[in-house]
Amino acid sequence: MSSILELRQVSKTYGEGATSVHALRSVDLVVAPGELVAIMGPSGSGKSSLLTIAGSLEEPTSGEVLVAGASLSEMSRKDKARLRRRSIGFVFQDFNLLSGLTALENVAMPLELDGMNGREARNHAMTALTDLGVAERAAHYPDDLSGGERQRVAIARAVVGERRLVLADEPTGALDSTNSEAVMRLLREICSRGAAGVVVTHEARLASWANRVVFLRDGRLVDQTGKPEGPESLLTSGPRARP
């Protein structure tokens, strides 16, 4: 099975000289289609940097990132933008919905940016919203939605179209436990339909929805589990598989 996302010896350093910060140090990671990977680690361990580099939002200082076999370093800014429109979906902790657009328009936006006819794009968007259970809120603006609804809309936007990689940075950070579980379940379902997913989270309970959990500390990938058997498996299983 070919990988959707592959990080090869990726390092990221912010700043220069004495004030430089090494966010990532020679990280290797491969995510296959249908796989949901959770990334855990303490604050400042490089989780978000890994996600943004994987999503072409930032450049690595060294190393290589491949998405669906294509190297990001060889892509222009336009190519990367196109990749984000077509293949990568982002889910942010604070939702990051465009406040001037309705839920439906937010979800349709990547498709319309890619040149899809407005009506067709909205049909796709409505399908995505229906799948996520917020179709009845399609005409509402983000200000009028609850936190859980906002995040569902954000996920719908991340998966609409033919997305192959969904990247979620603390997608449950602003949600209560019920909504958090629902969001993770949705991500799991999306991956089970063939997309690859990477989720950054602090909570082990939520990470247990993933096929694999990767641990980062001081920018290094220090550990990763195998596929847990159930949502609560991390709390009960002791040994962890080394990569």
Partner: protein, 812 residues
């Protein structure tokens, strides 16, 4: 899906839709920006229109003709020859006759004009204001100023040139409102001194400037003047449009920089979901085009309305009549279209910066790190240097002005100021460290958000710079306090023309009678202070009535006349605070001039003509330099030394207040009754109104930009205010924060604006620097002190309210 990476149709629609929604959500800020831009466009349209309307460039004398010629009437044969020759050569020729008649009681002669109101070419030079045109002999129509001077109205009868005339109407020259004349009925046989011919000289190519010697048409002995090209007007249009649009662009830029920063996170988000740089730019460009279009439309309508409402004021300044809708429409349309272009371009620039920002940096919503200012400062200094050099090299005060160089010089100076703004903003960091908390935070925020602060400062600077420049130019072109023939509070009663004095051999009774007559004239003005003015005459030749003159010897055989000095009587010396004890015993002439002046006695001592008396001694004193008032005095000792005698020339009247038109008319009438004449200050429309309007407009524009910037920054800094309030800051802190932000922008704006304006003025007037002094403190001080105070006070008063919400905030 489309493979095209540029905005496809659906993508463009989606982006524009989002831009429109953002506009709706930010309606308060957008309305603020739109209002300011509308005001700027209106000011630009009105100002540029008025500037073009006010410029006449000597095209007023031609009417509908393209050429004119004037000749003195010497003999009937020459006159007939010139007329016949001109008609044969040019076809239809219209004649306007002039006869100079003395106006009783006034030293100025009156132009008795014979002109057909329905003339082929001259009809635009004549308009009826009241009554009717004269149609019969002995009927007259007067201009307003002549009627005022004569104290006459339509229906009155007056005596001019020993002829009784019936006044049947009031007329004017619509192309020259200062043209003073009395119109008689058209009469081919009227006795005239000179004739003006108007005709279409189709063979002559239009040319600007005065006629060259080669223009003299020797066949008819006529010097033909041709209507100039519209080149100077085009230059003025170009300059007015350039400056106006630079202002519109800067105002727009100052607003859109803030709007773009406000949208930074949203644009970062759009980029994260796959928007390209062109998509991101389109969001701001759509905003800019829409705001620009609305502002251009409303601003143009308001500007046109302002110009229409100000028609009479513009006519007064332009010195010619304007149709209410006699507007430079092409310029107005250009201004409107350029406003849209400038607004769009102003939105494009911050959009470009934002679209190039890394996505994560944009998503973080942190302000970009201020760029180093060293390079921009160097560019600013270089551009300012080039701009000032260009303005100086263009010789704007000369007839040889180089318009293209001038335009580029002005552009260089304006752009130089724009580049200097970031350095000035960065300079605020220096005092900030020593200031109390709120002021420190305010100044540091300005530095932290350098891009938007600098854009706002540049707009404020240019607005104030334009105002200060207008004030400076108006001052330079206005009569100085001691310019002109007399002050507005002075009147001179003369015994005759300026060059004449009474017979020095008058008896005491005759002198007393003259003084009594003069006192009668003075009595019409109330109880003014009155000084007798005597001149020095050589009694040896009674036929030469010309007094002893002050002159400058230009070469061994010729002199340049300066003035006729009056006798330094004890009363005059006391009036001018000159202590007789300070006058040297051998001094002949007291004068303000420091060059080599001498006294010139016109009674010839030799057949070669007048000669200076080499023995006279000159002493420099402080006297007013009005040309008709005592600006030089001959000492009484000089009279006896040279054998000259005092002859009565007139009386100087000093009033407490400026003379009114009615007072002047009454004095003239009284003078005419007793055979004397009066002289008053030659009028110049005061440019004080222009200076006041320029100062007020600049201050209002600057305040509006400050308000917009503060309004936008405040909405941006709402989170900071919430934090401050949550940590215990009282309304005093919030007020100080806003007041300091407003005050700092206003102070920097006035400093940079004044520096830029005076750099340009000094360059423009480098050969006449004295015209720029004294500085117009009446206008500069209110700007320098009042503007920051008003800005700070307004900021203080409006910023005390506590933030509305703490827990629930709308999304970005």
């Amino acid at each position: 899906m489309s493979k095209n990476d540029g905005p496809s149709g659906p993508a463009r629609r989606a982006i524009v839709r989002w831009a429109w929604r953002l506009f709706q959500r930010e309606w308060r800020q957008q309305l603020l920006l739109m209002a300011l831009m509308t005001m700027t466009v209106a000011a630009a349209v009105a100002g540029a229109s008025m500037a073009v309307n006010a410029s006449s460039f000597g095209q007023d004398d031609f009417g509908d003709a393209n050429s004119s010629a004037q000749f003195d009437v010497t003999t009937p044969e020459v006159t007939a020859g010139n007329l016949a020759g001109a008609r044969a050569r040019f076809g239809t020729v219209e004649t306007i006759g002039h006869r100079s008649v003395s106006l009783p009681g006034s030293v100025k002669p009156l132009d008795l004009r014979t002109q057909d109101p329905n003339g082929t070419f001259g009809s635009p030079l004549l308009a009826l204001r009241k009554g009717r045109y004269p149609v019969a002999a002995n009927e007259l129509a007067l201009t307003r100023s002549v009627a005022d001077l004569l104290g006459a109205q339509v229906g009155d009868r007056i005596v001019l040139d020993d002829v009784e005339w019936a006044i049947v109407g009031e007329v004017e020259n619509p192309n020259d409102l200062k043209d003073e004349f009395a119109l008689t009925a058209p009469d081919d046989n009227a006795v005239v001194d000179s004739i003006t011919l108007l005709f279409d000289n189709r063979d002559l190519a239009p040319r600007s400037g005065p006629p060259a010697a080669s223009d003299a048409n020797t066949e008819f002995h006529l010097g033909v003047m041709s209507r100039g090209s519209d080149g100077p007007v085009a230059v003025l249009v170009l300059i007015a449009a350039t400056v106006a649009m630079a202002l519109v662009g800067l105002v727009a830029a100052s607003g859109f920089v803030v709007v773009a920063q406000r949208r930074q996170r949203q644009l970062g988000l759009l980029s994260a979901i796959g928007a390209t740089e062109r998509h991101l730019r389109l969001v701001m460009l759509a905003n800019g085009a829409f705001v620009g279009a609305v502002a251009a439309l409303i601003g143009t309508v308001l500007g046109v309305a302002a110009r229409v409402l100000a028609t009479s004021a513009v006519e007064s300044a332009a010195n010619h009549r304007l149709g209410r809708f006699d507007l430079p429409w092409s310029l107005i349309i250009e201004c409107g279209l350029l406003a849209i272009v400038m607004a769009t371009a102003a939105a494009w620039w911050p959009a470009r910066s934002l679209s190039r920002m890394p996505v994560m940096a944009a998503l973080s919503a942190r302000p970009t790190r201020p760029r180093p200012v060293r390079r921009s400062l160097a560019v600013a200094l270089a551009l300012l240097g080039l701009g000032v050099g260009g303005i100086a090299a263009a010789h704007p005060t000369d007839t040889t002005v180089r318009p293209v160089v001038l335009v580029f010089g002005m552009l260089g100076a304006v752009i130089g100021v724009v580049f200097a703004a970031p350095a000035a903003i960065r300079g605020l960091a220096v005092p900030a460290a020593r200031l109390p908390f709120a002021a420190r935070l305010a100044l540091r925020d300005l530095v932290r958000y350098q891009a938007r602060s600098a854009a706002a400062l540049a707009a404020i600077t240019l607005g104030l710079g334009i105002s200060i420049s207008v004030v400076g130019i108006a001052q330079a072109n206005e009569y100085r306090a001691d310019d002109g023939n007399l002050s507005s509070r002075q009147l001179v009663i003369r015994v005759g023309e300026v060059r004449t004095a009474t017979d020095p051999n008058l008896t005491a009774a005759e002198r007393a009678s003259l003084d009594t007559h003069a006192a009668t004239v003075a009595a019409t003005l109330g109880k003014p202070t009155m000084y007798t003015l005597d001149v020095a005459r050589n009694p040896t030749d009674a036929t030469i009535r010309e007094p002893v003159a002050q002159a400058v010897q230009t070469d061994p055989h010729s002199f340049r006349f300066v003035s006729y000095p009056f006798i330094a009587t004890p009363e005059l010396l006391a009036h001018y605070d000159i202590d007789p004890a300070t006058i040297n015993a051998d001094t002949d002439l007291l004068t303000t001039r420091t060059d080599e002046v001498t006294l010139l006695d016109f009674s010839p001592k030799s057949v070669e003509g007048p000669a200076p008396d080499a023995s006279n001694r000159v002493q420099v004193v402080d006297l007013p330099s009005y040309s008709s008032a005592p600006n030089a005095l001959i000492t009484e000792a000089a009279l006896s030394r040279h054998g000259w005698v005092a002859a009565r020339a007139g009386w100087l009247i000093e009033m407490d207040k400026p003379l009114t038109t009615a007072q002047i008319a009454a004095a003239r009438s009284a003078a005419a009754d007793v055979g004397l004449a009066i002289e008053t200050r030659s009028t110049q429309d005061s440019l004080a109104t222009l200076r006041t309007v320029a100062t007020t407009s600049g201050a209002l524009l600057a305040l509006a930009i400050v308000a917009m910037t503060i309004g936008l920054i405040r909405s941006e800094a709402a989170a900071d205010l919430r934090t401050l309030t949550a940590t215990g800051a009282a309304s005093h802190t919030r007020r100080t924060l806003t007041a300091c932000t407003a005050g700092a922008l206003a102070v920097l704006g006035i400093v940079l604006g004044a520096a830029g304006a005076y750099a340009a003025l000094i360059a423009g007037f480098h050969s006449q620097l004295y015209k720029l002094t004294p500085l117009p403190f009446a206008e500069l001080l209110p700007l320098a002190v009042g503007l920051p105070l008003v800005a700070m006070t307004a900021g203080w008063l409006l910023a005390g309210r506590e933030p509305r919400t703490f827990s629930r905030q709308t999304l970005d």
